[in-house]
Amino acid sequence: MTTAVPTAPAPAAPPAGRLRRHRPVLLLLAPGALALLLTYALPLVWVVRMALNRPLDGGAILQTVTLSTFTDVLASSHYWNVIGQTLQLGVLTTVFTLLLSYPVALFLARTTSRWRSLLFALAVAPLLISSVARTFGWMAILGNQGVVNKTLLAIGVIDDPLRLANNMTGVVIASTEIYMPFAILAMLAGFGRLDPELERAAASLGAGRFAVLRRVVLPLTAPGVLTASLLVFVLSLSGYVTPRLIGGGRVFVLATEIYDEAMNSLNWPVAAVLSVLLLLLFGLVVAVHLWAQRVLEARFTGRGRSTS
């Protein structure tokens, strides 16, 4: 097979060649990258920069580089209270959302009903409905004069209205509903391993309904639940509309504080510091999540576990 090759033998791609090969990649990525740089990366840098300034009285800003705004915020028991309430809201909302979403997701993952599409749409469509509109609905449901209290008072179950709104309870209830579609979607996406055949296999081996749930369904759906929990936690940490409208002024979370500091007190440095704190909290949550995911994944693939 002696063929005179007319073209030069291809050497290891020279730099020019590499650029040529990568040009389509760069061209395709450029518009999106530019947009994200402008609308996302740059603003975040600006926030961090702002957090290093000092606020002056009446909302003026001293351009400087200092951590004193951070230390001031962290020295204030109020902000610790805010962080505590933010976490409390996040944890409660996440727990309830998961509890209520799991059966729905499980149902949707398994049903073969011909209404399946409709039921799926009903479960996740609220996602696409303005959260202001939904929160407004909850105001009408949970208030002292709301649907729940009016009904219970009318049928004589209670004498005084239940305090369902204007406090953490109300915010958690409404947030739970608002984040359920997210959780359901995330769970469904993560339920890929939930092959109904596995449940049948377990039953054929003598597992009753509960044993199937505990020994097969729960472990298999754990990754989906984990993803959902991250999503909901992260979303609820930064929720603004619901705490504002249903919190009755006594639910202080980072989001409402950031807004107040930025828009009412005009204290941008403090708002920026709170934002950076929220971002750090996020980073922490995501890191924990990734770790948990790896642990869980190792259980399925055996990676990270020395097999003898």
Binding site: L36, P43, L127, L128, S130, R134, S238, S275, F282
Partner: protein
């Protein structure tokens, strides 16, 4: 597999309750939207279409609707222009750091809107881009691009790259392949991604709160500010209109790529 009647009924009841909970605010808002009283009360005091008339007569809402529609349409267009090429690169080209680039494109989803809103305010205020259409559009662009990238990536993953290769072997150059084979194949995904981007932008509240003002005030901000002062049935009527808009979107998305694939988190 068979299960006892008790378990089956219990399961059905549980699901019904959960669905009711999930849909409760929408149902209540719908009921209240026909009330005749001047503030929200339950049960409703009467039935009238007056709240709907008020919604359409309210100049704030009219202006907000226009702002939201223009912003959402422009944002959608730009998000598609930015997101589709990126999705193409991410699914069809092999390059080093692909995973990192993809993560970067999806990462705005992990930044709280409230932080992004403040960040944009700080960046835009001195330029000044606050209270302008372009400021609003840019602000929305950051949060819609990831969704477009994701739906289009899903659509591309579902479209057979072999068909593109086949077209190439039949003599189609890269651009022709995209126009004649890739584009038709991902049209449903493009459509769904566009609808979702539109709706996200149309419903965006928190970021808009920071970067909008009274000249350019989108509908959700107008609604939120209205709700801070008043709670009459017209706001319920407006909510019903927003819900209907979402329902239309859901139907369209389902017709396209399918809800499930479009919304996958």
């Amino acid at each position: 597999m068979r299960s006892g009647p008790v378990a089956r009924i219990g399961w059905a009841v549980l699901l019904t309750v959960l669905y009711l909970f999930l849909l409760a605010p929408v149902i209540i808002v719908f009921i209240e939207s026909f009330d005749t009283s001047t503030y929200l009360r339950f049960p409703p005091q009467g039935f009238s279409l007056e709240p709907y008339r008020q919604v359409f007569a309210n100049p704030d809402f009219q202006a907000g609707l226009k702002v939201s529609a223009v912003t959402a349409a422009t944002t959608t267009l730009l998000a598609l222009l930015c997101g589709v090429p990126a999705a193409l690169a991410l699914t069809r080209l092999r390059f080093r750091g692909r995973g990192a680039v993809e993560a970067a494109f999806l990462s705005p989803l992990l930044v709280p809107n409230i932080v992004l809103g403040l960040a944009l305010l700080i960046l835009f205020a001195p330029i000044p881009l606050t209270d302008t259409y372009w400021g609003l559009i840019l602000a929305h662009l950051g949060v819609t691009i990831p969704y477009v990238v994701r739906t289009v990536t899903a659509a591309l993953a579902g479209a057979d790259p072999r068909a593109e290769e086949a077209a190439a072997t039949l003599g189609a150059g890269p651009f022709t392949v995209f126009r004649r084979v890739t584009l038709p194949a991902i049209r449903p995904g493009l459509f769904s991604g566009g609808i979702i981007a539109f709706l996200l932008s149309f419903d965006e509240t928190v970021i808009s709160l920071f970067v909008s003002g009274h000249t350019v005030r989108p509908l959700p901000v107008a609604v939120l500010q209205y709700v801070e002062y008043r709670s009459d049935p017209s706001i319920a009527a407006l909510s019903v209109c927003l819900v209907l808009l979402s329902v239309v979107a859901v139907v369209l998305v389902e017709r396209g790529l399918g809800l499930r694939r479009s919304l996958r988190p």
